[in-house]
C-alpha cells in the first residue's frame, strides 16, 4: 500500500513459474518499453534472450587485463634483473625469460581476476544500496523464491494504460505498484 512520504515510480509483476516469466519478458521486450528489468533469486536460463540483452563485455576486459599483467611481468622481471640491477645467476643470460615464466603466468591471472571483479562491480551496478525495490518490500520475496518484472515509469497514466495491460496479458496475477520513499532516511 502506498503511504504518505512515498511516491509511485513504476509497476511490478510477480511470478512463480519461470516459463510465464519468460513469456512476459518477451512481451515487454517487444512493447518497446525501455526502463525495465527482471529480478530473480537465481539466474533463469534463457531470460537474457527473452529480455533482448546483449552479451557481457567482461571477457574482453578480462583478456586485456590478463595481457597487461603479462606485459607488466615481463617488464618487472627483465627490467629489474637484467637492466636496472643486472643479476647474473648460475651463468645464465641476464634476461633468462624461461625462469620468469611462473611470474608471467601468475601476474597474467592476477590482473585478469582483479579486472573481472572490478567489472562485476561496474557492470552489475553494485555499490548502490538504495533502491525502490527495498522501499516497496519486494527484495525480500525476490531474493527468496519469487520472480519479478519491474517496469519503471514516473508517468502514472502510462503505467495504468500501457504497463498494466501488458503484464495482465502475459498472465501475471500479482501486480503491484513500485514506490520509493521520498524522505531521506536510507534503507538497505
Amino acid at each position: 500500500m502506498i503511504e504518505s512520504g512515498q511516491k509511485k515510480v513504476g509497476l511490478v509483476g510477480m511470478f512463480d513459474d519461470p516459463n510465464t516469466l519468460i513469456a512476459a519478458a518477451k512481451k515487454v521486450r517487444d512493447s518497446g518499453h525501455r526502463a525495465w528489468d527482471c529480478h530473480t533469486p537465481y539466474p533463469v536460463h534463457g531470460l537474457e534472450q527473452a529480455m533482448g540483452l546483449k552479451d557481457s563485455p567482461i571477457p574482453t576486459i578480462t583478456i586485456i587485463a590478463a595481457f597487461t599483467g603479462f606485459v607488466s611481468a615481463v617488464v618487472l622481471t627483465g627490467g629489474l634483473n637484467a637492466v636496472h640491477y643486472p643479476l647474473r645467476v648460475g651463468g645464465k643470460p641476464l634476461f633468462s625469460w624461461q625462469a620468469f615464466v611462473p611470474i608471467y603466468f601468475e601476474l597474467f591471472i592476477l590482473f585478469a581476476a582483479l579486472a573481472t571483479l572490478v567489472s562485476v562491480v561496474v557492470y552489475c551496478k553494485l555499490l548502490r544500496w538504495h533502491s525502490p525495490l527495498h522501499d516497496s518490500g519486494l527484495m525480500k520475496e525476490v531474493t527468496g523464491d519469487r520472480l519479478a518484472i519491474v517496469l519503471e515509469s514516473a508517468d502514472e497514466e502510462y503505467i495504468e494504460q500501457t504497463c498494466r495491460p501488458l503484464l495482465e496479458a502475459a498472465g501475471c496475477t500479482d501486480i503491484r505498484h513500485l514506490f520509493e520513499n521520498t524522505d531521506d532516511e536510507p534503507t538497505i
Binding site: 537465481y42 618487472l76 611462473p102 591471472i109 562485476v120 538504495h130
Partner: protein, 459 residues
Amino acid sequence: MSRQSSILAPAPLFTKEVDSKTLDEAIFKPTESFPTVRWWIAISITGSMLVLFVALLIHTLQVGIGTWGNNNPVVWGWGITNFVFWIGIGHAGTLISAILFLLRQKWRTGIARFAEAMTVFAVICAVIFPVLHSGRPWLTIFWVLPYPNGQGVYPNFRSPLLWDVFALATYLSVSVMFWFLGLIPDLATARDRAVNKVRKFVYGILSLGWKGSHRAWVHYEKAYLLFAGLSTPLVVSVHSIVSFDFASAVLPGWHTTIFPPYFVAGAVFSGFAMVATLVILMRKMFHLEHIITRHHLNSMNKIVIATSLMVGYAYAMEFFTAWYSGAVYEKFVFINRAMGPYAWAYWTMLTCNVLVPQLLWIKKIRRSPILMYPIVLLVNVGMWFERFVIIVTSLHRDFLPASWGHFTPTWVDAGLFIGSFGLFLTLVLLFVRFLPAVSAAEIKGVVPGAQPSHGGAHD
C-alpha cells in the same frame, strides 16, 4: 524398465522434495538461530588450539626458530611440511568450485561454497609457516616484494622461492575474490531475511546492494565462468610451483621431473579427504543431509580413489627412476627412504595413501559416512607424512656422510602444527555460523522446475 532408466539417469541431487523456501530455511537457519551446544563445544576446543597457536607464534617470534627441531642437514623441518600440507588442503576447494564447474557437474553446488571457504582458510594457515620460517617475519615482506628501495637491489626472479611468493599471493587473492563473488547473491538473501537491524546493515553492506536483476546476472554469470577458467590453471600452477621449490634443487629425492603433477595430484587427494572429513561433520551438525547427500560423498570418494592411484603411481615411479637412472645417490636416497631411520614414516604414508583408500572401491563404504570416515582421516595423516618424508628423508642423508644428521621435532613444532588446526577449524566454525555454508542461489537454480522447460527462449 524403471529400474533400467534409474541406473542410466544421473542420481538425484536432493534426497527429499525441496523448493526455494525450504532450501533457504535449511541453509540460512544455522546463521540465524542461536548457536547449538555442539557448536559451542566445538569452538571452545578449536579456540583453545588457536590460543596455543598464537602463544607459540609469539614464542617463536621472541626466541627465534631455534625453538624448532630444524638443524643443519635438515634445514626444512615441520615448518615447510606444514606449509605444503596446508596448501594441498586448499586445492580441493578450487578443484570443486572451478574445475567441476567447467565440467558442468551439478552435484558440486552442494559442497562448493564450503570447499572454497576451506581453500581460503587453508592458504592462510599455509602462508604463516614459511613467513615464520624466514626467521625475521617482520622483514619478510621487504625481502620478497620488489619494492623500490635506497640500495636499488631487487629480488632474484629466477628463484623458485620468489615464484612461490607470486603464486601464493595470486592464489590467495583469486580464491578470496572467487569466494566473495559467489557469496554476493547469498549475502543479499541473508540481508532480506534479517529481522535484526544490525544483521540487515552488515549483510546489506557486504552484499554490495545486490538486487538479483537479470541485467546484473548476465554479467555475473559470465564473470563467474571467467573466474572458474582463471582458477583452473592457477590451481595447477600453484602446487607445481610449490614442487619447484624441491624439484629445482640438486638434492636426490627432490630433483625429479615428476614432482609437479605428483604434487598436484597429492594436493587434490588430500584436499578432497579434508573436505569429506569436515563436510560429514557439518551436514550432521546442521541437518543438511538432504542437500549434501550420500551421492555427494560417493562422488568425492571416487575422486579420492582416482588421486590415490595417481600418487601411488608417483611413489612407484620415483623408485623406478632411482633404479633406472643408475645414479648412486639417487638409489641410496630411496633405499634409505624405505629402509632407513624414517622407514616408519614412509610405510605410514604408503599405507594411508595407497593401501587404505582401496577400500573405497566397495560401494557400500563409499556411500556410508561412518565407514568412509576413518579412511579419509587416514588420508589426511598419510598426506602429511608424504611431505614429511619428502622433506626430511631427503635432507637428513645428503652427499657427504660427514654432514648426515637426524631430525627430531620439538614441542614448539608439535604445538604449532596442532595450533594451525585450531586456526583453520575456528575459521571454519565461524564461517558456518555467519555465512551460508551452501550456495543457496546456485542450488535454487538446479531445483527441479526452477529453469524454464524449453531450455530458454531463442526466438
